[in-house]
């Protein structure tokens, strides 16, 4: 996978987190692979998870199989980006 494409996917995931959770761009810019998400970011409730997945689909042009979505994939920012990359870039 090209590193530029990989970086674009990460940027898209950051933008979706900012838009869906209504948190500042600065705060999202500080997220790294180990930043915990589900259960750690209070804004990320069940409604927000649904919006997050749909926005990622819409912006990356991918389809996410809901049965693949589990606690692990949402556990950290790094896991979420890795999942999005695997879907978008193969």
């Amino acid at each position: 996978m090209g590193s530029q494409e990989a970086a674009e996917v990460e940027q898209t995931v950051r933008a979706v987190l900012r838009d869906v959770l209504g948190i500042s761009a600065d705060r999202v810019a500080g997220f790294d692979d180990d930043t915990p998400l589900f259960g750690a970011v209070p804004e990320l409730d069940s409604m927000a998870v649904a919006g997050l997945l749909t926005e990622i689909e819409d912006r990356l042009g991918i389809i996410i199989d809901d049965d693949e979505v589990d606690g692990e994939m949402l556990e950290t920012f790094g896991n979420l980006v890795a999942f999005a990359r695997s879907k978008a870039l193969g």
Binding site: M47, A50, D58, D70
Partner: protein, 240 residues
């Protein structure tokens, strides 16, 4: 000039009186159609502000509550899709003047029912996508509760039995119709989307999707972009 007041009207539908608000006394009429379900709450303030901006430009803006949503007293679980299209037709009849429609998100699925002369849409969402999102909310809620349920099971439930999600109870008929509700893209439609959305649009705006926010938010610049685009569009399609 003081801003146009918000006037509470009502439209009558199946013996019930449903809320309809108007901002702007005179001028060409624009019927606003809010997104469906939770997004309607999140965007209400934003829609009202947009209506105020258009009222200042000389438009009479209307925004109805769909039966079973917002402040409606009608039980949602008793309704199907035809009830919603019928309600929008009743709104158009109550306004009784040629209409343009402005819809946000899945509100576009109902705009044809008003028989508008032209339609404007922001980030239209089809019923299939919205239905998937309702299933997702239930899946995420189940995950929080430590329950195991598959997307296929919930998807089968939506449309075959009453489906409770995020405080709403959808009848089987409403769920089934929602799943199949497609965006009618016949003539006289202008579509705007946000930058980053890869679907086709007549123009793309640099703004954040307020309808995604769990806490209602406001964005005066975004609002002004809509007022400018809608007033230009309305003036153009009035001339044609």
């Amino acid at each position: 000039m003081s801003p146009a007041p918000l006037v509470h009207l009502a439209y009558h539908w199946r013996g019930a009186s449903e809320r309809l608000v108007r901002i702007g006394e005179a001028g060409p009429a624009i019927l606003f159609l809010a997104p469906l379900f939770e997004e309607a709450n999140r965007t209400r303030h934003f829609l009202i502000q947009t209506m105020r901006g258009l009222a200042a430009q000389g438009y009479a803006c209307y925004l109805p509550d769909l039966p079973g949503t917002l402040e409606s007293q009608t039980p949602l679980e008793q309704l199907d899709w035809d009830d919603w299209t019928g309600a929008i037709a009743a709104v158009a009849e109550a306004i009784d003047t040629p209409l343009r429609t402005v819809s946000l998100r899945a509100g576009c699925l109902l705009d044809h029912a008003a028989r508008p002369k032209a339609r404007w849409r922001l980030a239209p969402q089809d019923g299939t996508t919205l239905a998937r999102e309702l299933v997702r909310i239930r899946m995420a809620a189940a995950r929080e509760d430590g329950q195991v349920v598959t997307a296929a099971e919930l998807n089968a439930e939506l449309g075959s039995q009453e489906f409770a999600v995020a405080g709403y109870r959808l009848s089987p008929a409403l769920g089934a119709a929602l799943k199949g509700a497609a965006i009618d893209s016949s003539e006289m439609v202008r579509t705007l989307r946000l930058e980053g959305d890869i679907q086709p649009a007549d123009a793309k705006l640099a703004a954040q999707p307020l309808w995604r926010r769990s806490e209602p938010d406001d964005d005066p610049l975004f609002c002004q972009m809509l007022v400018d685009d809608i007033s230009h569009w309305a003036a153009t399609c009035a001339a044609s």
